[in-house]
Amino acid sequence: MEIIEKIKTNKSIDNLTEIQKICLDKLQASPLPNPKSEQWRLSNKSKFSNFLNYSVNEKKSKFDTPFPNTSQSTIRLVIGDNCQINFIEENYSIKQLSEDKLVKYIKEQISCFDKNENWSDLLNLSLNCTKNILGLKINGSEIPPIEIFSHASINSLNAKTLVIFLEKNCNIDLLQVNLGKDNSSLSQSTFVCLEENSSVNHGVVSYGENKSNLLNSLNVIQQNNSEYNLGSLHFKFNYARFEIRIKQSKGNAKTNIKGMQITKKDEQISTFTKIDFHGPNGFLDQINKSLADDKSHAIFEGSIIVPKIAQKTDASQLSRNLLLSNLAQIDTKPQLEIIADDVKCKHGATISQLNEEELFYMRTRGITLTEASKLQLSSYFQEIISFIPVSKDRWDLLDKLLNEN
């Protein structure tokens, strides 16, 4: 109940919005996620309470982007910046969603929420007043890459929400960057809706600083013939959860996911995915990689749901994990729920350590153990990083990872 009181008594929120009220009502019934539920049972309780410990902060704080915007064509937005977005060009338009439409859409989403599965979204929408919700409607062609930043402030709990509607026949490269600060918690909820024949190359890069926490929830709805490609990377969080829910609402859609989480010290980072096929001829290719060092804990739980209506589904889910220390822990559970009888579905998981013979081979060529490990790790990271839509000359993520890990 503490979190509900915290939201209600937050001085920076004058009047609760309609959405906040609805979500608070739902949270009253379920003030905390059920620790015994599948989605939350491995979550570190003390770290999770630490997430909720910070006071809610709606104030705007100074923000430095992690890499310069050297490309004039890239559109860069910061959630909470309050500027009116309205790009109308010959070939495309990017407009801000009206408040009515935004509220209507979010209410529809909330009506389908499960109290455990969507607890992170409920919290996000309870905390969030309208200024930290960014809604975009995008259409047209030859759309420049879009970068959207969310960030937390030091010693506070911040909530940011992003809603994106991609209209028919529209293709975009979207990079979402979530940044944690010292002793902070960031709640990020994202809703992406892809209409027919649209496609998104979506990169989600989240990284924190000392003692930062993250609840990152991503909800995607794909219509016919849409293609959703997600490349994600989460690292340097005391506690982070990345929840991905994708629904191919009418089938005939393609989803590709390449995700990675890196944990060190006593960090815990988890990824939960639920891919729901609601029509025939759906396609999924998913790989999730975890790398756990020191005393850290990495978790992956993935489920693929193929009901009777989803005949001819072709889905693959693979969890690959690298354990770098005897004290680190990895939990992985890829799962399939198949009712349809004419499908091609596979899943698998591997846990291994750095290959010692590879290391020895490199060392016999004069490469130090540290460099050899870095080379091995870079090959491990590369598959995921190359899937994230951000140009190398502007932000070398691989260098950042190798230098920080």
Partner: protein
């Protein structure tokens, strides 16, 4: 047997070396000295300790030296890390070169070459300068430039892997190269290319140890000395005709030799 009076100091001295892994003794007192310009062949049955000896000289962390010394240019290197030995100029050509998916061959070769150059106080090469150097060395092993853009040894045929080893040897310019069954898995043409590559790279200042089962490599590269290993020891050393004798007699006599001694 190594009676020729040497004009220079030895490159490598293995003195009464014993080693084990998981408390299992593998080497039981091996001694071997290699001078500049010499080619030594080590022959013996599978499991006699030939490959283990090469790995121990290269510094494999899974083996413990229980007795004896390995000296390189007069300095004891027993406690050096594999990369330190490589930087000094010890090269091990692997019997089964390791595949490293995701690491480009070009980058791997460049990082390795620069590690050795740094030790030799030579200027490190950037990608462009390195490409020039590697182009020249590719000629030695008749390798196509396309091999450089692939992952290290991944998808290479047996012959391509071995040629890639010799390419690395050419780039690293070692003082001593230990080539572990470089001839295995090679057809006649590939064997000639590899053998010719080894001959081009070796010179009066370098030493070579060839570990092999067969005479055919030694037909291409004539060794100064042939050593026969059995049960973790060198039981006989001779000149190149010893290899021909082994080819005729096989290794059965080594069992009797061990029993008798």
């Amino acid at each position: 047997m190594q009676s020729k009076m040497k004009e220079s100091d030895p490159i490598l001295e293995v003195e009464n070396l014993s080693a084990s892994t998981d408390n299992l003794p593998i080497l039981k007192g091996v001694s071997l000295t290699v001078y500049p310009g010499e080619i030594h062949a080590i022959m013996g049955r599978n499991g006699c300790g030939k490959s283990t000896l090469s790995k121990i000289i290269a510094g494999h962390p899974s083996y413990n030296i229980t007795n004896g010394d390995i000296k390189f240019l007069g300095e004891n290197i027993n406690s050096l890390e594999p990369e330190e030995r490589a930087q000094l100029g010890i090269f091990l050509g692997f019997q089964y070169p390791i595949e490293i998916p995701g690491v480009s061959n070009l980058e791997f070769l460049r990082v390795s070459t620069n590690a050795r150059r740094k030790f030799l106080n030579k200027e490190e090469l950037d990608t462009f300068d390195f490409e020039e150097l590697v182009k020249e060395k590719l000629e030695i092993v008749k390798m196509d430039h396309a091999f450089l853009s692939r992952s290290v040894n991944q998808g290479f045929s047996g012959g391509e892997k071995k040629r890639n080893e010799i390419l690395q040897m050419a780039l690293l310019e070692p003082k001593i190269a230990i080539l572990d069954e470089t001839d295995s898995g090679l057809d006649i043409d590939a064997l000639r290319i590899v053998a010719s590559g080894i001959k081009k790279i070796s010179n009066a200042q370098t030493g070579i140890i060839l570990i092999t089962h067969y005479q055919r490599l030694l037909d291409e590269i004539k060794p100064n000395y042939v050593h026969v290993m059995s049960d973790g020891q060198i039981i006989k050393t001779g000149e190149s005709d010893l290899a021909l004798e082994l080819e005729k007699k096989g290794y059965e006599w080594t069992d009797n030799f061990i029993k008798e001694t």
